[in-house]
Amino acid sequence: MKPEELLYTKTHEWVHVATDGEGNKIATVGLDRFALDALTDLVFLDLPEVGRSVEAGQPFGEVESVKAVSDLNSPADGEVVEVNAGLPDKLESLPDDPYGEGWMIKVKVTDESSLGRLLDHAAYQKLCEEEA
């Protein structure tokens, strides 16, 4: 996936929204490069179980680096339907492909209006420039 085509949270998760066969919105979530560059040296990733319900702006997991621990926040209200379970064991490769192999969870969105707060790439770039 190309960063330009993704949506973003203010806490640096990227989001790709697609529609499944039953018309459900499925949000794929990962951590943006800006956050990975700031954290550096990842050592631990805690992802949720499939079936857990998540809330927009609330933590679904944690990522820990040598420097600090950060919450991973859900972009939408919904339920976790898929988890990239192998990712915690190959964290060193996460920065190589954060928007592809580095996806973390897929959320079946239960309240589409919760997606409305996400930023498009241009708005997100502006946020990153302000924070840099």
Partner: protein, 387 residues
């Protein structure tokens, strides 16, 4: 303090070379340039060079200095030989730690002795005020015991050059034989670089990483050119610039306390495991009487090292439990790049402080098992024959 953070003489260099700048103790300092782990490993394996110009440097001279320092510091310094350096503490009247410092005795080009005290950046103003309180103008001008002292921090820069190849790196730039410089020794050296124009610097075999290494104090005006020269000479040796983030992981592995974490005015040197730095007999520094009293009883809490078995890092503030009972708290923790597991230091009730004791740390609601281990976590393979 909402004012702009201060800048070291290397500030422009850090920014131009990818340093991730943060406000640290009122100074704009680079946390890292590439990655904390890379910089950490470079220091353990070759050389890491850190700008530590933010640290405070106080210079004392005059016939009364040795006696005055003995009245100020917890550790005997009156018998310091030329070029000798000691780790000491400054305590308040209750025996709480105001700062931990290095004091060295040097001779200038005219053979006059002087002392340099290196203090933590975060404590510089406090220590300067503490000295002003004890070294009144009358005290400083007592006939035959005069003392002149200055805060020389801003006119000098300071580099930590740490790692097994640091002597090899520095040798071409100084006029003394580093093979003869022992650990915790220092010397006024001439810097062999055109920009230095016969300017001297203070070079000591000291550090905060657990490796062999040096600290160099030199004029702020020549610091950037010498820094770049060192990096150029160091390239074939594997030397890299290192930020303050790996300075923290390195000192943690080496079991060294950090002020504001393991040390504070609420902590005394005995519980911090620093009784080696306190000479209580025959001395009368502030806090001495309090420490004599504290020494008579068992210490309620003591500093310990913890190793964790999971990969979740126990950081400052995490509570330590023995069963359901809260028995201590983590004061610093990180993921150790050398040991590849989380390590932490903290304070714990003395009865649980024996190495091998199994405990639990509450990390953001996750109960992770931890074990008390002896400090340091890491000891370098050889002492380089310098100790």
């Amino acid at each position: 303090m909402a004012s702009e953070p201060a800048r070291t003489p290397l500030y422009e260099w850090h920014v131009a070379n990818g340093g991730k700048m943060v406000d640290f103790a009122g100074w704009s300092m680079p946390t890292h340039y590439t990655s904390i782990v890379q910089e950490h490993n470079a220091t353990r394996g070759a050389v890491g060079m850190t700008d530590i110009s933010h640290m405070g440097r106080l210079r004392f001279e005059g016939p009364g200095v040795a006696v005055f320092l003995a009245e100020l510091l917890t550790r005997r310094v009156a018998d310091l030989g030329l070029g000798q350096i000691r780790y000491s503490l400054v305590t308040n009247d209750e025996g709480g730690i105001l700062d931990d410092v290095l004091v060295g005795r040097y001779h200038n080009a005219y053979g006059q002795p002087y002392y340099v005290m290196v203090v933590n950046a975060s404590n510089r103003a406090k220590i300067v005020a503490w000295i002003e309180r004890h070294l009144t103008p009358e005290r400083a001008s007592r006939r035959g015991h005069e003392i002149v002292w200055n805060d020389i921090s801003s006119i000098f820069a300071m580099f930590a050059i740490q790692g097994p190849r640091s002597a090899e790196l520095i040798q071409p730039l100084v006029d003394v034989d580093l093979g003869l410089m022992k650990y915790y020794r220092g010397e006024q050296v001439r810097i062999l670089h055109p920009v230095a124009k016969r300017q001297g610097g203070l070079l000591s075999r000291t550090g905060y990483t657990g490796e062999d290494g040096f600290e160099l104090v030199l004029g702020a005006d020549i610091a950037p050119a010498v820094w770049e020269k060192l990096l150029e000479l160091g390239k074939p040796l594997g030397a890299v610039p290192t930020g303050i983030a790996c300075r923290d992981t390195l000192r943690l592995e080496a079991g060294m306390p950090l002020y504001g974490h393991e040390l504070s005015e609420q902590i005394n040197p005995l519980q911090a495991g620093l009784s080696f730095a306190c000479h209580l007999k025959g001395y009368n520094f502030p806090g001495r009487d309090a420490l004599v009293e504290i020494e008579k009883n068992p210490l309620p809490t003591v500093r310990i090292g913890l190793e964790l078995s999971s990969r979740r890092v126990a950081r400052e503030g995490a509570a330590i439990y023995a069963g359901d009972r809260r028995v201590g708290e983590v004061t610093s923790g990180t993921f150790s790049p050398t040991l590849e597991r989380p390590i932490a230091m903290g304070y714990i009730e003395s009865e649980f402080s024996t190495p091998g004791t199994d405990l639990v740390v509450d990390i953001r609601g996750h109960r992770e098992s931890a074990r008390i281990v002896p400090l340091p976590f890491y000891r370098r393979p050889t002492q380089g024959g310098t100790k």
